[in-house]
């Protein structure tokens, strides 16, 4: 009896404390929430506590929050996931530990991206360096596709070395860092031998993670690549027009039958914009025929950031300009890529999920968007990141949404 009374008292007191106290660290009020994972597409409030999503509901009382952000007229989504980047930045020439890679924080925060996947810039030999030098030191969450080549993108001679494509060592590195390594990449090989592809597939199968296929495999036909891929495997640079790989649409602008077949079978098409990987002449007819990207991988690297690509929101805005609905754009920037890398803890605003959130606006005006061929498409709207939160912390605030007004005393 005494004990029960005590428990009830504690419960009542704590309830009262919670009700009057401020159990919410940050409350984003009145934004239009688009959270495809939870089928939310409405005006709602988003409450964050302890770096996690606490509640998404209409009319959460401001009195419960330590800090309130007014997101009227703005959209609120899970932080974006960019599954094709090169962020193993260092001082060597080239990509692996090199100057062609770039620091994710430089570009992610300002474009609403909270998670990037490095696309095989490292392999099992140099992943630990990548991890120590970049992954552990970035605000952006960095995951990785491990290259089947032992040293990742370390120059042509290393990338062509069959002896250094070891599925067992690759698998063991995955076993060591399963929270970071989310796929295996095959992407750079000039021979006609399928051994590298098969070894990458072996490592991926053993680890139960997807294979990520990039285009620099000139001797493999697109049809053969797609045929060897399993449902859930990802092909990138989907809408490129280069000599190294056949386009997904034919000369008449029709999506090739075997591409449609692959799509039906569950092969995932990542955009992989980069400096050469995205052309309106391929992407526009493909989209009209039902082949859009499953994810908006930017192929972020030193040469794409100042070209037509720019950043992930610019790439997403291209699809708005091409007629994709904003809800579909958000799906492909959040939940779809999270699922594709089997990280269903990400890309959603479910209670308890890490509070990676982007508050964004649609800017109206007259805009142009450029593809890898230097051709332009016109649009009247453009997405802009107003506020980016990474595990509840503000990592970008464009217009001072979270700030107090300056006043002269």
């Amino acid at each position: 009896m005494h004990k029960t009374f005590f428990v009830v008292t504690v419960w009542l007191v704590s309830f009262a404390f919670h009700a009057s106290g401020q159990e919410i660290d940050l409350l984003i009020k009145n934004g239009h929430v688009i959270d495809p994972r939870n089928n939310i597409n409405a005006r709602m409030d988003v409450a964050i506590t302890g770096g996690m999503i606490f509640q998404v509901a209409p009319g959460i009382a401001e009195s419960r929050a330590k800090k309130v952000v007014d997101a009227s007229g703005l959209y609120v989504s899970p932080g974006f996931i960019d599954i094709h980047t090169h962020v193993f930045v260092g001082t060597k020439p080239g990509f692996a530990n090199g100057t062609s890679s770039i620091s994710p924080d430089d570009f992610a925060c300002r474009s609403g991206v909270t998670t990037v996947v490095d696309a095989g810039t490292s392999g099992w030999r140099n992943f630990p360096v990548f991890r120590e030098q970049v992954i552990n030191r970035s605000k952006t969450r960095i995951l990785a596709f491990l290259s089947i080549g032992g040293t990742g993108l370390s120059g042509k001679s290393a990338q062509e070395d069959l002896d250094d494509m070891n599925p067992d060592s690759t698998f063991l590195m995955f076993k060591k860092y399963p929270e970071t390594i989310v796929g295996i990449k095959i992407g750079h090989y000039e021979g006609s031998d399928w051994t590298p592809f098969d070894r990458a597939l072996t490592a991926a199968s053993k680890a139960g993670i997807p294979l990520f296929v990039e285009c620099h495999l000139p001797q493999y036909s697109l049809e053969d690549q797609l045929k060897r891929m399993r449902p859930g495997d990802i092909i990138t640079h989907s809408f490129e027009k280069v000599s190294e790989r056949m386009s997904v649409v034919d000369e008449e602008g029709r999506v090739r039958p075997f591409v449609k077949e692959a799509q039906k079978r569950g092969i995932l098409f990542d955009l992989g914009h980069g400096g050469a990987g995205f052309w309106f002449s391929e992407a526009v007819p493909a989209l009209k025929q039902g082949l859009g990207p499953n994810s908006f991988g930017t192929d972020l690297h030193r040469n794409s950031v100042n070209a037509g690509m720019k950043d992930m929101m610019n790439v997403m805005s291209k699809y708005l300009a091409m007629g994709m609905k904003k809800e579909d754009v958000i799906l492909r920037g959040t939940w779809a890529p999270a699922r594709s890398i089997k990280r269903e803890d990400l890309g959603n605003l479910s209670k308890g999920a890490p509070a990676d959130v982007v508050v964004w606006s649609i800017r109206k005006g007259k805009f142009g968007f450029v593809d890898a061929g230097g051709n332009r498409i016109e649009g009247d709207q453009k997405m802009e990141a107003e506020l980016t939160l990474r595990e509840g912390k503000v990592v970008w605030d464009l217009n001072g949404l979270t700030a107090k007004k300056f006043e002269i005393k």
Partner: protein
């Protein structure tokens, strides 16, 4: 005889006429040829080139990487590529006189060869900047590494102030080491070894008296270059009046002008919101006031009253590094926008990011659009709307205009094109 003479005269006359006709033909032809050789013609923009006192609608022609002509109505027919800049502003490529770009993988270091620095290209072109001055990230001991790793590989023109400390900004303790502040060696690096890249000396982060500043000035005198001082980690603060009037020379640079951290750094605006009189006097004396926004060095409570009382910085710069890039600073266009919203004219702001810094670092070939100079050009739109601008204390100033870089050209190459104004529409191309 007479007849012959007459004939000769006629011939001569004919010859003159022919010669004149020929000359005219040739010059017309060469003119046409010259015009056909315009690589990029920027049409119809509002050109602001403070050095040349240009402030109006003009066309800018670029040929072989250089400015070939700035004039009204340059014919379109003679250009290979035309950029329609109607409604936009055209300026010389901006100079960011305070940045930290010595990125590297010394995981124990702070800014020198370390991760607090950023690679310049990702931040410069998208805000109209074509030249950055690294503000003392390296010293004479590690400048060569900086050059090899960053300067030689960047598309952005990277110049540098050399730190008076031999190891540059390796860490706070190294920066106190008076046995590693060598004016002679520092001056040799500037004058004898790298005069094309090193444009001045930096003194920063020193906890002691005026020793470091004085050594930097000594090096500056030996090398004939200015000194930039970040003067604010003294507890209690050292006198900035003494710094301005006794230790620095006209042409030397005081950075972090609008910083507010009175416990360690004397402020230029007093606690009653008044600009200290000696600050005006120092500017009159020729001391250069640089913004150097950074992650901790720009407060509205300093900048707003200063601007109201007519104190304008000589140079607007970012202090770009990882701790400032995603905070209130963002990029140079954003920092300029802050001043526009505090009442500075666009013309004044452009001068403070082009001709002024070029003069300060004694690089007269930069910061203007005179024919024959390397074609570093920026095109901006001035966005109207409702914007907020953050200072380093998380306070916001509301504004209604914001500068956005539309197109950036570095040495005649388009290195940034926000909306594809230089690109053809995709379905018009075969």
């Amino acid at each position: 005889m007479t007849r012959n003479r007459k004939l000769l005269k006629t011939f001569r006359r004919f010859g003159y006429v022919a010669a004149i006709l020929f000359t005219v033909a040739v010059s017309e032809r060469s003119l046409a040829q010259q015009n056909q050789d315009i690589d990029i013609l920027i049409k119809g923009g509002h050109v602001i080139d403070p050095k040349n006192s240009i402030d109006g609608l003009m066309d800018v022609a670029i040929r072989e990487g250089k400015i070939s002509q700035v004039a009204s109505n340059i014919p379109v027919a003679n250009a290979k590529r035309v950029v329609d800049a109607k409604g936009l502003y055209v300026t010389p490529g901006l100079i960011d006189m305070h940045a930290h770009v010595f990125i590297g993988n010394d995981l124990d270091a702070y800014i020198a060869n370390a991760q607090t620095s950023v690679p310049p290209d990702g931040f410069t072109f998208r805000s109209g900047v074509t030249t950055v001055v690294d503000a003392g990230s390296s010293g004479w001991r590690n400048f060569r590494l900086f050059k090899e790793q960053t300067i030689d590989r960047a598309q952005t023109r990277v110049l540098a102030l050399l730190n008076i400390v031999g190891t540059g900004m390796t860490g706070r303790f190294e920066e106190q080491d008076m046995s590693d502040m060598n004016p002679v060696m520092t001056a040799h690096m500037v004058k004898k070894l790298f005069p094309n890249i090193i444009v001045g000396i930096k003194s920063a982060h020193f906890w002691g008296d005026f020793t470091q500043v004085d050594r930097a000035v000594e090096a500056g005198k030996l090398a004939g270059v200015p000194v930039m001082v970040d003067f604010g980690e003294h507890d209690p603060p050292n006198s900035i009046e003494s710094l301005f009037m006794q230790h620095l020379r006209p042409g030397d640079i005081f950075t972090h002008t609008f910083s507010y951290g009175p416990k360690q750094r004397e402020t230029i605006v007093d606690e009653n919101g008044k600009v200290k009189p000696f600050v005006f006097a120092a500017q009159k004396r020729g001391l250069i006031f640089d913004v150097g926004h950074g992650g901790g060095a720009f407060s509205w409570r300093q900048a707003v009253p200063a601007m109201k009382q007519g104190f304008k910085p000589d140079v607007i710069s970012t202090d770009l590094h990882t701790q400032s890039m995603n905070g209130g600073m963002k990029d140079l266009a954003n920092v300029i926008s802050k001043f526009l919203n505090m009442g500075m004219t666009l013309q004044d702001a452009v001068a403070r990011t082009t001709v002024n810094p070029a003069r300060v670092i004694n690089r007269p070939e930069l910061g203007h659009l005179s024919p024959g100079t390397e074609a570093d050009v920026a095109i901006f739109n001035l966005r109207k709307g409702d914007f907020g601008f953050l200072d380093v204390r998380g306070l916001k100033l509301q504004g209604n205009q914001k500068l956005e870089a539309e197109l950036t050209i570095r040495a005649g190459r388009i290195v940034w094109d926000l909306n594809g104004i230089s690109a053809p529409v995709w379905d018009t191309v075969k």
